[in-house]
């Protein structure tokens, strides 16, 4: 690996036309995209929330469906960014050769990777807002603090897009992504308090949970629904930002290596 591959990222505003390109593609299938962002989390939330929630009087000081809603905002944002960064990102890089076409213009790989992160996070923003709309419509929270879920969804998106791109950068093909979803994303969902409080886990798993990014996102989201300013708010944001920057740098180094072959 050449030492040039390790240079610090130097993204520029030239990422904007790539974002607009992806937005134009998205517009052509916006209907199905929005339906997916709404229907999937809502079905889970209603099914588990009412079904399971009927047996549980209260979880973590709130109704189970509200408890689940806070987790679902983060979970849905994570999923949107991960699918976009892995499957769609891989299609643009490898199958459609979109990156190759863009690299022949004044745009650099740093701009492209940055655009992928921002674009995937934009989809998380949309997913987060869809779940938030459901929270409001169902009356699960009346707190104006829930508006903070919108920037939180964006931050969760930036974080998981950056981490997901590491996998995209080393993937030989689409099948490879199953490892990431099975070994990283699914355990993350179960360990980070989406469906039940982390305190239910044995101490070892609680320690693992404490370093996972989704835990920090949910630790911000859940108090917001209860109209409470999250404890250690800045710390959680800092952890999510740190994962974002780490993912951006590592994925960029790996993409530089891959595309210089």
């Amino acid at each position: 690996m050449s030492k040039n591959h390790f240079a610090l990222p130097r993204p520029s505003l030239r990422f904007v036309p790539i974002w607009r390109r992806n937005f134009l593609v998205w517009q052509k299938m916006a209907g199905s995209s929005i339906l997916g962002h709404l229907a999937d989390p809502v079905i889970y939330m209603l099914g588990l929330g009412y079904g399971l929630g009927g047996m549980l009087p209260e979880v973590g000081g709130m109704s189970y469906i509200a408890f689940l809603a806070a987790g679902t905002v983060c979970y849905s944002a994570m999923n949107s960014a991960s699918f976009e960064a892995l499957y769609s990102g891989f299609a643009r890089m490898h199958e459609q050769r979109t990156w190759e076409a863009i690299l022949n213009t004044p745009i650099t790989l740093d701009d492209i990777v940055f655009s992928e992160i921002v674009w995937a996070a934009s989809k998380s923003l949309l997913a987060g807002m869809a779940v938030l709309a459901v929270i409001w419509v169902l009356g699960l929270s009346h707190s104006p603090l829930t508006l903070w879920l919108i920037p939180l969804a964006l931050l969760v998106g930036l974080c998981f897009a950056s981490l997901g791109l590491i996998v995209t950068a080393i993937a030989p093909g689409y099948d490879f992504f199953m490892y990431y979803f099975t070994l990283v994303i699914t355990p993350m969902v179960l360990l980070c308090g989406v469906f039940f409080p982390v305190a239910q886990l044995p101490p070892l798993l609680q320690n693992i949970s404490a370093i996972l990014p989704l835990t920090h996102a949910i630790d911000i989201a859940r108090p917001l629904l209860n109209n409470v300013i999250p404890a250690q708010f800045l710390w959680h944001v800092a952890v999510l930002l740190a994962y974002t920057l780490l993912g951006f740098y590592v994925s960029l180094v790996l993409f530089r290596k891959r595309l210089s072959q």
Binding site: P17, V25, R97, A101, N104, P106
Partner: protein
């Protein structure tokens, strides 16, 4: 920019992959307004050379200037003034013809209004005026190539790189592309193209370089390459006895000959003695023709397969 400066110059360019040199001490100089062809068998290093010239990969050694910019350090401003037609299609399949041009123009920092203003001319040039709103998957191979060419012109570049621009096209589509490329040189654009097709190189290029194993092994106009490298006349002899005939007789009448399966290629300064000799062997068929670029190419790079 000084008009006498070359548009592109490379000195002792070198790039290795896994310790193997792919581009090995390449020197190249391309003048403003010329169409320069880079020929070579598969794996000769043509595409790697193009990627180096565009600043997409960094050379291990050597010096590179494109439009007075140092590449790869100043590749970004250099690429603002360059157009690229890649070997494999990478049009956006989700978009229409017009959207492909619009989105690509934005990558150069052009405003939508500026791109819209160029669209009619670009579509006309690509003979795609009626296909403006057609989606890419509905286009034929020739139309896609022409759209890729139009896309490469969206920023009105001074230099256009074309990597095997007509590979996979039928003859009608190839001739239309050739006509367009000649129009571009007539307008003063500088073209650098790689190709496998010797007829393409002979028709289009003012100057050519033959590349093999990462080096330039010959350079000049098509006519110069033929004059410098090969005898002017070729007699091809076919038939099952051709090889046996060649072993016994060819050397007496031909300056040089090569046996390839059931064909014998005889390279001669004067074909008459050889043709007279062939009259004695009615079982052999033959073809007498002037030497062409393909003969030069095969002489310089050998007849064995490259895979």
């Amino acid at each position: 920019m000084n008009e006498t400066n070359p548009v592109l110059s490379a000195r002792k360019l070198r790039k290795c992959y896994g310790g193997q040199p792919v581009v090995d001490g390449l020197n190249l100089s391309i003048r403003r307004g010329e169409c320069f062809g880079l020929l070579g068998p598969n794996g000769a290093g043509k595409t790697t050379t193009l990627r180096l010239l565009l600043g997409l990969i960094a050379p291990d050694a050597g010096e590179l200037r494109l439009l007075d910019y140092h590449v790869p350090e100043e590749a970004r401003p250099a690429r603002l003034r360059v157009g690229v037609v890649p070997q494999m299609d990478n049009l956006d399949p989700d978009f229409t013809v017009a959207e492909n041009l619009l989105v690509y123009g934005r990558y150069f920092g052009m405003s939508d209004a500026a791109i819209e203003a160029r669209l009619p001319e670009l579509l006309e040039f690509a003979s795609l005026t009626g296909k403006r709103d057609a989606r890419v998957p509905t286009l034929s191979g020739g139309m896609k190539r022409r759209l890729t060419l139009a896309r490469a012109l969206v920023n009105d570049p001074e230099v256009i790189f074309l990597d095997e621009p007509t590979t996979g096209l039928d003859p009608q589509a190839r001739h239309l592309i050739w006509q367009r490329l000649r129009e571009l040189t007539a307008r003063g654009k500088t073209l650098l193209l790689t190709t496998h097709f010797m007829d393409e190189a002979e028709r289009l290029c003012h100057r050519l370089a033959v590349m093999d194993n990462g080096r330039l092994i010959s350079e000049g106009s098509p006519r110069e390459l033929i004059e410098q490298n090969i005898e002017p006349q070729v007699v091809e002899v076919f038939g099952e006895h051709a090889a046996a005939w060649a072993q016994d007789h060819a050397a007496r009448h031909a300056q040089r000959f090569e046996i390839s399966g059931e064909s014998v290629f005889c390279y001669v300064l004067d074909a008459q003695p050889l043709l007279a000799e062939l009259q004695q062997h009615p079982q052999l068929r033959y073809l007498h023709r002037p030497a062409n670029l393909e003969d030069v190419f095969l002489k310089l790079t050998g007849r064995e397969m490259r895979e």
